[in-house]
Subunit: 448 residues, 2 copies
């Protein structure tokens, strides 16, 4: 029944049914995602992809974000490219219970389709976004953690289905067609974790968006899949369960009562979330050093006690470029201590190779401590004169306990988008906050 339950819930959801905190969470998720898509729009990964595929593009009815309406393409390519751009800095949102980055696949597909279709209101866009994100996250919960452990990039494997649900909602698909859209999405499982650290990592949410859009487009024309696609013996959940026991019923039963979008968090730093506590601690230590007249050059050693996942996922000892820097807790700590910041600028190739950064990076030790929570850390610095500074972080900034405020989200938006948009960045930020109130979102999307 899972496929039918999800399809039925999704088609029944209306904007007026959304509780106010859910609406707020949707606005924040979309706002943050737009900033990330613009911020990543000039990245070489995006450029290579666009160069490879633009020779085959169709009628330009959808915009590539970050080009102020000057670069438009067909919706299939637009959602692929925007999806890649939004994830390429690893700076997008995280549903912490599953480490899904839920907005990428869903919003990429939605914006491209909404602009193409025309006449889509901000209210309907947000409602479809919520439907897609809830779908992705509930399915993620149902197969977590074995699905991720075996090696699936859970963002794209679930995001494809979320994207199909979201676009299907804008199309007003009936329950049967929505079920076929879910099925056609569920058969397209893109995303191996082995690709982390390469261009292909951010390809995953983009391709999930594109595959989900395709699923909805085909279902709209009567293309059939399986009405038991999710729950069948050889359906999605069992095939990708990675040896775990899927819990579809348990989580889909909570659709509309427990809202996953409220548990969506936003990254203050453009790198793997697991090393955020250590970076947070180092930024706080930077400030303490400044107050005490201490300088980074005098640091002899830095020791971070971290959750074991930090070691498993981000222990690149000698990252060679910005991309590898994202998988190096050592680099993150180094720039935190040196600059008191860890924004996109601190993850450029130049900064990763900067001798001053490398010098501190080499002094950082990270030790796994299974007693720590995932967002907890203790960092100690020892200086040449034997002076010690210590910082314990109980919950990193950007966690559910210490969420980023709207002001912090806006500072993040402005910081990553000003490089791309220049003086128009504030206007883009204002539009992004207000997109949910638009009568037709198309002109706003074109302006990004």
């Amino acid at each position: 029944m899972a496929t039918k339950v999800l399809a039925n819930w999704a088609i029944s959801l209306t904007a007026s049914k959304l509780p106010s905190p859910v609406k707020d969470a949707a606005v924040r998720s979309l706002y943050n995602w737009i900033g990330c898509a613009i911020g990543g729009s000039q990245h070489p990964t995006v450029t290579k992809l666009y160069d490879a595929l633009s020779p085959f593009q169709g009628l330009a009815t959808a915009s590539l974000l970050g080009h102020g309406g000057e670069r438009r393409t067909d919706p299939q390519l637009a959602c692929l490219v925007n999806g890649v751009a939004s994830h390429v800095h690893d700076y997008d949102d995280t549903h912490l219970a599953t480490i899904i980055h839920p907005t990428g696949p869903v919003a990429s597909a939605l914006l491209a389709y909404a602009e193409h279709k025309g006449g889509v209101s901000g209210k309907d866009l947000l409602c479809a976004l919520v439907a897609g994100i809830e779908a992705s996250c509930k399915l993620g919960l149902a197969v977590w953690p074995a699905h991720y452990d075996i090696g699936w990039h859970i963002t794209s494997t679930t995001g494809c289905i979320g994207a199909a649900v979201a676009v299907g909602k804008l199309m007003n698909l009936d329950e049967g067609k929505m079920a076929h859209a879910i099925g056609l999405a569920s058969t397209q499982n893109v995303g191996l974790r082995e690709m982390f650290g390469s261009d292909t990592k951010s390809f995953h949410p983009g391709r999930a968006a594109q595959s989900g859009l395709l699923a909805a487009l085909c279902a709209e024309k009567g293309f059939t899949s399986s009405p038991q696609a999710l729950e069948a013996k050889r359906g999605w959940a069992n095939v990708v369960a990675g040896g775990g026991t899927p819990k579809l019923d348990k989580y889909l039963r909570e659709l509309g009562t427990v809202w996953e979008i409220e548990r969506n968090a936003f990254k203050p730093f453009p790198c793997g979330i697991v090393c955020h506590p250590a970076i947070d601690a180092c930024i706080q230590l930077h400030e303490e050093m400044q107050s005490n007249g201490l300088i980074p050059r005098d640091i002899e050693s830095v020791t971070a006690k971290v959750h074991p996942l930090v070691i498993e996922l981000t222990s690149k000892r000698t990252p060679r470029d910005g991309l590898e820097g994202k998988f190096s807790v050592f680099h993150g700590c180094s720039v935190g201590l040196l600059y008191g910041k860890a924004g996109p600028s601190q993850y450029s190739d130049d900064v990763v190779r900067d001798p001053a950064v490398v010098s501190i990076r080499d002094k950082v030790q990270a030790n796994a401590d299974a007693q720590l929570k995932a967002d907890e850390t203790s960092v100690e610095i020892v200086f040449g004169n034997s002076l010690r500074l210590q910082k314990h972080v109980d919950h990193a900034v950007g966690s559910l306990e210490v969420p980023m405020t709207n002001d912090q989200l806006e500072a993040k938006f402005l910081d990553q988008c000003k490089i791309v948009l220049g003086d128009e960045v504030k206007e883009a930020s204002d539009s992004a906050w207000a997109i949910g109130e638009a009568d037709d979102v198309g002109s706003i999307i074109r302006a990004f």
Copy 2:
């Protein structure tokens, strides 16, 4: 090393290195596939897909087979549509050791790309086809049978990688880029068996072709994936192994010495391969009846001893349409006895519902006999006058032991394509046989 081994073998393969039986097998595989792609080109599944996606198509540089050059589109859409068309009648080839239908994903991608690129010789096309098919089948062997058992449609999960290898070869990618193409393909796992019986089944090889083409296009522009994509702990083989132990090294070591394309078989009948022996026996009995002046109307009973899988997979007692007829050994026996043929025409809705066919169908009994081999059967007919005819088939036509002859392949081609191409069918058949000798395959492809 598996990714590197495959990449290196593929880039090193040259047309002149291909043993003569391998070349012959390639010609036969491609010929048979072209017939299936033309034969399926007007199917409703194909039409729905084209209607859904053609609004987004790009510059028309590749042809949809079966339209005599009158319907062209961009190569990405062309390979998707041709791939679906070639599998939609379940009439394409089968690598019996893995039940992969290997030519679909590889040839769909290759033909679309070759026509788009221009100046591709038939020799290079065949060499790339062999590279792609060997890649698909070796990878399939490495994860067989657990991968299939858990629920993956092995044709598309391996075919995507084969398509990337094949297109990458036409691009003359170097080893590094070929490895990245393999990786970007391996992260796109399309195909759940749960979709069998719906439009989505034939979507799988089409999407595999499209995803493989995309992987090669991106790799050509320097897009990176993982150089250990296939063999890493969380790489392709381990993630999709379905609980089995992948044997990449064992099978990739045999690249270029054991040629899988020589073990590729062709279906004489457009239905599940398990009921082919019984149909074969009935066609032979039809001929025997004719020689003896016996007529089908006088048949009192037909009893077939068959392998148990025949009962498990094809025992639809009263099929309602052509699609259900494919899963009815009773229908297959009936048309074999009545017409001495079981081609696509004998699987039309009309024939399945024809009272004369139904009347004989109702007299057919099929009894499982676990002593029989999968391609063995015994069929006995009893006539009103108590006369009996009996036929034992040791290996069905289309098996490796009794392969279809080139004449039989041609009859199959003509039979399924004449409905689409009319008078031009013989010319198309001659071109398809000769495509390997062309200086530029583009004009031939356009003519199909």
